[in-house]
């Protein structure tokens, strides 16, 4: 993604410290930036993630009200998950959408990549539009610690919820919603 001339690796001179969390690690490294400046910088090393904007055959949107301990609140988010080892983004989200919503999708469109927090994380999130949904008879089990409620809303209901300021979306969800609308409205 993007022109290669804008890609430039920094030189890692020394690992200062590292902590391992469940799905990613945090490292502080002594780094030389491309402009020659040297310093100690901390960042999350993340395997990447994938997200789906699920649209039902009736044109409704499936979105989750999900607890996030880091921000001490429930957020509205599209189904998404961290890539597991050896998993492609599309296969990952095909698994996650079933675990988190109880639906599977037949038609998948690519909505590009998103960089959520380039100041301190290398995570890239792969965004997809998921259509021709059907409900599963048996819902596969996801992560035990997930605290998720599935909402099925018309686009107008979702717009009203957002405009009311009552509920908060995260950046990946807001960006994916805008990109999905551009595709859906251009057809």
């Amino acid at each position: 993604m993007g022109n290669e001339k804008f890609i430039k690796k920094s030189i890692i001179k020394k690992r200062i410290s590292e902590l391992q969390a469940k799905k990613f690690s945090f490292q502080i490294n002594k780094i030389v930036l491309p402009n020659g400046h040297e310093g100690e910088y901390g960042s999350i090393i993340h395997p990447g993630a994938a997200l789906a904007v699920p649209i039902t055959n009736e044109g409704k949107v499936i979105i989750l009200r999900q607890y996030r301990f880091a921000v001490s609140r429930y957020l509205l988010e599209f189904p998404a998950g961290t890539l597991e080892i050896g998993e492609t983004p599309l296969n990952s989200i095909k698994r996650e959408i079933q675990e988190e919503t109880g639906y599977k999708a037949k038609i998948w469109d690519n909505l590009g990549i998103l960089v959520p927090a380039p100041g301190y994380a290398d995570e890239e999130i792969h965004l997809f539009l998921a259509r021709e949904l059907s409900e599963l008879e048996n819902i596969p089990k996801g992560d035990l610690d997930e605290d998720i409620e599935v909402l099925i809303l018309s686009p107008l209901e979702l717009d009203n919820l957002i405009a009311s300021g009552e509920e908060i979306l995260d950046a990946k969800t807001e960006t994916a919603l805008f990109r999905a609308k551009q595709i859906l409205e251009s057809k």
Copy 2:
């Protein structure tokens, strides 16, 4: 921001480990989630940030091509910065816009708050629209390690750059651009 019924603190039972980076810290804590599940979770404790979408009197957008070591590339980003101690988001971005672009703004509109990475960071970014810009005679010095090029583009030039896939925006910039367009186009 948001209805209080969606706010719920987790209980931190024990600090497992902590690393201090320049502008934030990373902690792994033993936590009890609101649904009773207990586990060890890592996250960044961040002071928050502020961002401006600067629009010139000719209707052009000021955007930065900025190096980000964490993703090993240059990204297009609106001017933004981490809040310093005791600083309001608006005062912070009034300082940052001058340091990063060499412009100051007279009219500021609030574009709401953004949660960039709720899976592993408590950061909230305060978004603003900055108008009635004027060029500074003396540009204040910012962070020494910043590697920034200032671009002044028409909305069409920016749209074409994004559509070309040549350059990559981060999530805060894409979200802020969409919110700014909603305000500018509704007038």
